[in-house]
Amino acid sequence: MSLLSASDQQTLREMFADMKQTVTILFFTQTIGCETCDDTKRILGELTGLTDRIVVDEVNLVLEKERAAEYGIDRAPGLALLVDGKDTRIRMLGAPAGYDFMSLVDAILAAGGASDMALSEESVGLLATVTEPRRIEVFVTPT
């Protein structure tokens, strides 16, 4: 059974149809000690069923430590978004459920070039001056 209603699926299909690039979601998972990894897998499965523009690449956090380190992910479930194989440096830790499902969809659309919400020219100008690493961590809850 699908987690999404038929109308939600259709809405998402239409949104994803505008994607210009394929987004790969690296899904860092582990078999033991991850309560929400199964849920996350189901949610990601729903997305890949809607469009060819989303690809999920499962990475075992325990067995593929080097790959996890490369993306700075030390927890499961963890997601890293890539565009054409290139790291976008967008990460999500925890199951993309509830409110956060739309955050993931929004991140995919932005990375895939299908978002109509762009940063202002002023913001883009300010961001161009950033030359040192900056790690933004945003704490959220599913509701």
Binding site: T88, V130, R134, T141
Partner: protein
Amino acid sequence: MGLANRMALENPNITAVTVQATEFYDLARKYRVTGVPKTVVNESIEILGALPEPMYVRAVLGIDEES
């Protein structure tokens, strides 16, 4: 969150991590998260709540409103 992700897409020096506070209680405790959204930049700058884009970008970059 949308803004942080878009900032990461804009500049390769920026990484945006969305963390489920209810799942990673240790991280939430480490950064004293008592309400969401809460943004922490480079483990030092703290931004509480959602801000309009110009304010959020400046806060994340550590730029004073007045300058």
